[in-house]
Symmetry: C2
Subunit: 365 residues, 2 copies
């Protein structure tokens, strides 16, 4: 059996590890970028599925348009301040990344990424042949003076996975301006943007320039099992992506899109609940790092799920009994650095976070 | 904006056209390979969704394993007479095709296909760089003596889309034997296999040789909007496909997989109902072709959705008022033939099928 080139070096995606973990009650996972299942609006989804299966079973169960369920596209278009022709529904943000990889990446195409950058994006673009160029960042975000020529720039401007970093408004304006001058396509991934725990919201890149291609998702603010994300782009780009999605899976799971449209009215209050739950977890992690891990360098994220850590040791040699975390090596697209790790505070309660970080500090000293 | 090579010549998938069509009551579509929505077990799905969202909302709404929902994999493994490690759930059969395209096809890889062959497969494999080789067929199916060296052979042995053809048991045995000798991978797509209207079932290729990779789907026997299909393959192939699916969409829509597992108990009786509904539609189409289109050559399918027609004229010049059908040109992977068309009888009642075929006969004469 002769496989295609792209699969030769392919292994299990790192981001999938740690999502399903031990039944050991002592075990604490800070690994996966997984929302807390206790926060899912389950009753609302039960009612929503019942309503759409009662009112429109034929729409729910039949093939639907590849673009996705019209009403949900309208809801997203309104939030995104754009027209419905600029919205394509995808099977989670991950399918958005995959479709954009197919749209832009040939063997050897240069793709600009942050360092570190989201592993799910790196692995997806890499299979299509991407050659990554890491763009240096400073405290305000990507250094615009360091942009090189490439097919596109992939960035997470809000509470990035894994760095937790947020790009300043001034830097965003400089970035879209520079991209316009250089005809550089920007892909903005904003899976975590609604989960801000402090500070003022900063305008999305796609609001500053409608040519920016934007990836969004309901996975972190409603529930990931639904697999409902979207791409916002100019209509001529959406049309190309529709052709690629036809070849990928014909169309999405329509029922989940209909249910999300029903449930989306709760988003403003539900997001408040999420923020009130996740903020003390972030604070517990920051406090515990300060107390137990003085030798670790980290950045306090203004939102999202992650604290990115630089260690005084090689993370590959760091084993912490009954604590899972993600070693940082693979998040570096070009030159592996092994003194980094990603901690997620989303799925664990504050006292357990404190205990896990205490164990990490113990292992480090 | 510079796009990847693969999208340069890409247009709307032909198979998506005609799926959404006119509100004109006089209009009859024989175009899409779309099941009749009136036959969907909607009440059963409403009850199933309610049950799984009541009993296991956390499983429904959270990220799940990329392989898919365990209980449904078990149900399929039992039907397929294999182990659960040999089953991967996909977003419809189309995602199965896409993942296999990624697994096997490099730029210029040779892929053996029937002539005509399923357009959704051709378009998907082509984007990864497939060079097609059409294998000639006779009345029993693919001519085994004409097999050439290639990455794999793609075939629909039961009631093929679009040809309606079924491979004889003798030919299947010859085919798996020849493939074993030549180390040729076989991909068996069996989206329609349960819908047999006459004759005895013939063993699946994957039953004759477990190295055959098999694609299946609930789209035609339950409902396509759920997007639940599967791949059956040897476990080491499944593992590679899991890595590709991680990069594609992380995991499927778990809720739909759970609902299908609940509803699957009705399959034996439900499939009987489908057969009793679709058989008279097939018969009406065959009778009408005999009566109204004596100049057309066709083959009576033993199952499935399609009658494939050879015309005395170029189908591109055939316009039939208020009747939709699919012109055959694009189903031919290597040399376009334009005197062919595909008619689907699945979505239309017998008297309407008769009227549509009458109109076609009128347009031809």
């Amino acid at each position: 059996m002769e496989f295609a080139e792209r699969v030769h070096s392919m292994t299990e995606s790192e981001i999938r590890k740690g999502i399903t973990d031990a039944a050991n009650p002592d075990f604490i996972s800070l690994a996966g970028g997984v929302p807390d299942a206790r926060l899912f609006p389950a009753a609302e989804f039960r009612a929503a599925y019942d309503k759409v299966l009662r009112d429109a079973p034929g729409t729910f169960l039949q093939y639907g348009p590849t673009e996705g369920y019209g009403r949900l596209r309208e809801i997203i278009a309104e939030r995104e301040q754009t027209d419905v022709a600029g919205i394509l529904l995808t099977s989670g943000a991950q399918q958005g990344l995959d479709l954009l990889g197919r749209l832009f990446v040939d063997q050897g195409s240069r793709v600009l990424v942050e360092d570190p950058s989201y592993l799910g994006a790196l692995e997806t673009f890499r299979q299509y042949g991407a050659e990554f160029v890491a763009v240096p960042s400073d405290d305000e975000g990507i250094r615009v003076d360091a942009l090189e020529k490439a097919r596109f720039l992939y960035t997470m401007p809000n509470f990035a996975n894994p760095s937790g970093r947020t790009m300043s408004e001034r830097r965003r304006r400089e970035l879209v301006e520079a991209a316009r001058e250089r005809e550089l396509v920007i892909v903005e991934d904003d899976a975590y943007g609604d989960l801000r725990y402090e500070g003022e919201p900063v305008p999305n890149l796609s609001i500053l320039d409608p040519r920016v291609i934007r990836i969004g998702s309901f996975s972190k603010v409603l529930a990931p099992g639904l697999r409902v994300g979207w791409i916002r782009a100019e209509p001529q780009v959406i049309r190309k992506l529709v052709h690629l999605k036809e070849r990928s899976d014909l169309c999405g799971a329509f029922g989940a899109q209909m249910a999300v449209a029903e449930v989306s009215a709760i988003l403003p209050t539900h997001v408040k609940t999420l923020i009130e739950t996740y903020r003390p977890r972030r604070d517990a992690m920051i406090d515990a790092l300060t107390e137990f891990c003085p030798q670790v360098r980290w950045r306090k994220p203004e939102g999202g799920f992650f604290v990115w850590c630089e260690l005084p040791v090689d993370a590959r040699n760091l084993d912490v009994k009954d604590v899972a975390f993600v070693r940082g090596g693979k998040f570096h697209a070009t030159r592996p650095r092994h003194n980094t790790m990603r901690l997620s505070f989303a799925g664990v309660e504050p006292d357990r976070i404190r205990e896990a970080v205490r164990r990490i500090g113990e292992a480090l000293s």
